[in-house]
Chain length 287, copies 3
């Protein structure tokens, strides 16, 4: 199996699939091709969320604002999974999740498995284009890796995957791959241990303008109102709980707090961009 | 084969696919993941339109505004097809079409096959999340059903599918599944039997704002103008037949009358929402 | 393998897949279903870009503004590839590229292979609908062709594919298929042979309003500014290089010059539509 993720929209991913089909008949599964444009951190967030659901596979993830520069093409082994991505850090958060993974719907990975991660640099020939390395570099690399793994990663031990990668002529150990660590929120609790305030950060804006933070949803569980950077905002399970144009706070399906507007854009209303701080304070606590 | 339909957008369906791949290698086909958000009736309309084209399969359809409440997870057998969906009625209109189906492009199903429908409730363990039962409940249920059907539904008789479902430990007969009957329009005809007026209803608004009604397109066949709730509107085959910003009535590829605006939103221009009445009157008949 | 391309959006392509699955288990790969609506020329451009990446396959491409008229349904063999499409010319530019193709990422096809192209007309029974020939005509035709090619086009020689098509009862040689030749830009060069001005044309507007021209990107390589129809415009590698709302010229991943606006629509700002002329002049040359 090869999964594909990018910010390419359409029809560019089909060109990657065509290239892959010249190398292998392995199944192709799209993760997403509408990831936030040129934002490796947002991609890392989404891939850390989605990829651990899969059995071991080759994951080709191309969010590549540095295409055409001398940034490396990276191959990262995480347990029996393999990630193929530009060396801008996006592969590391999902790799840590995949390396610690214990399988299945509820048994998501954790970030403890660094020792199970190996990184390689791809020795890239002059690619056919300066702008479409998804087609010219990453897709064929993913395909050749998959073809080298008889039966695919799911059929192999981490050691067998490691051996197969080490035996590939055009891969050499990466000496200093770019890392990207997704920020963790800091939580202030009251004497009973209940959360009263959280300092978080915006991880991603989705295409509807919803602001995805790094604040776990359970921290606002049971609250009707919170203050978002000082502004009193209702907590709701659905957009329709507030009038069109009104702001709300929800917990997205990814489990993190979102700052949204019903039938509008949260990024504009809350004036938030990726990387901005978000302070969430329980409503019964004065600022 | 497992088909997948939802209102999840991206990349959530990929998480469902990852979960399914831990259970079965069955082919995955996306029906749509941009169905109208939280609208089981619109989903029922679209699935009734699309699913009868498929040979028998497991269809996993998650439009689930009640996620996190105590609504049941439902499994519905319709002939040799199996639908897995929240118990909000969305499965029933496509199930009736699938139960009566006779196969192939033109031989679409009909709604007479109620006796061929069986419903089961899924005995759900505590899911990993309160908000993403697509991943935590419906996808693994669909996968386990598919895995239990050696060769898949297309290779089995309705009886064999029924036996397989009845043998599953976590399925028990549904005593009172929610039904959802898509409304039928009422037609007034002249002495010659030609339709002169139709009382219909808005079934869905698509993402372009096009208003899909339950009025079959043949009822306006050959008309140049009709009145939509009193307003004289041209009937056209293409949006480009009217100026940008102008209203028109078309027959969509689903075969039903749509109220649209060229390069604009029909829902706003016609002031129509799902569930609203639409009276369509032939132009040569006075109101 | 069967690839699918259309301007249908969602969920219509799933109906095509269901129909295909009644005929064959061949792999299905989506090229794009958001191609510019009703624009065979834009589709021809995109398919000429994407399809040559694939190994020989059956490609079903339905951009069909003439659906319901008496336009023919066409089957075009190009080498070992087969295209199934309405007879509006869209199949010809990709067919020429596929006929001349020499395989692989960098070895894209060329347009010299006319002799390797054969066109057939499909003898169509009365279809089930007047508006959805993607489901009723093109998908089943593609499926039956694929089923007739034991092992698929990739396993067959051009001669074997030709023989298989000629043996099909409902295909007869096309006497005068519509051709559509994508325009080539004309280039003015200085005494040193460097390009100083290009007369090009708008091939497509993508869904973000980006204006895709037929001008190869290398013609503006190394320029910081160019004049677009007289208007001085910066050349940039990324949208973010200019302020939101500002115009820029980029080279898209397809390799052609685009006229864009950062966080806005290039078609509006440059007042350009498909078919319009674009004169691009190097900035150090007076107009």
């Amino acid at each position: 199996m090869i999964t594909l993720a990018s910010d390419f929209g359409s029809p560019y991913p089909a060109a990657m699939k065509g290239v892959i089909r010249r190398h292998t008949d392995a199944e192709l599964i799209d993760v997403a091709h509408d990831l936030p444009r040129g934002d490796p951190r947002a991609a890392a967030f989404w891939l850390r969320f989605v990829l651990p659901e899969f059995p071991p596979a080759v994951h080709c993830a191309v969010i590549d604002p540095g295409v055409g520069t001398d940034r490396d093409a990276l191959v990262v082994r995480a347990g029996s999974h393999v990630l193929v991505a530009p060396d801008n850090g996006l592969a590391m958060p999902p790799a840590r999740a995949l390396a610690g993974e214990s399988g299945g719907e509820s048994g998501k990975g954790n970030d403890d498995g660094d020792e199970a991660i190996e990184a390689f640099v791809v020795d890239v020939d002059e690619p056919a284009s300066e702008t479409f390395h998804g087609r010219d570099v990453f897709a064929p690399t993913a395909a050749r890796i998959r073809a080298a793994l008889d039966g695919g990663p799911a059929a192999a031990t981490p050691e067998a995957v490691s051996d197969a990668l080490s035996a590939m002529d055009d891969l050499s150990p990466a000496t200093d791959p770019v890392d990207l660590v997704l920020p963790e929120p800091s939580v202030e609790r009251d004497d009973a241990g209940d959360p009263v305030a959280v300092e978080g950060e915006v991880l991603a804006i989705d295409r509807f303008g919803n602001v995805v933070t790094n604040v776990p949803g359970e921290l606002i569980r049971g609250r009707d109102w919170v203050r978002i950077n000082g502004e009193l905002t209702p907590v709701a399970e659905t957009f329709g709980a507030v009038d069109p144009g009104d702001r709300l706070v929800t917990v997205g399906s990814h489990g993190y707090v979102e700052c949204d507007v019903n039938d509008g854009r949260g990024d504009g209303a809350f004036d938030l961009r990726p990387g901005d701080s978000v302070r969430i304070v329980a409503d019964n606590v004065s600022l």
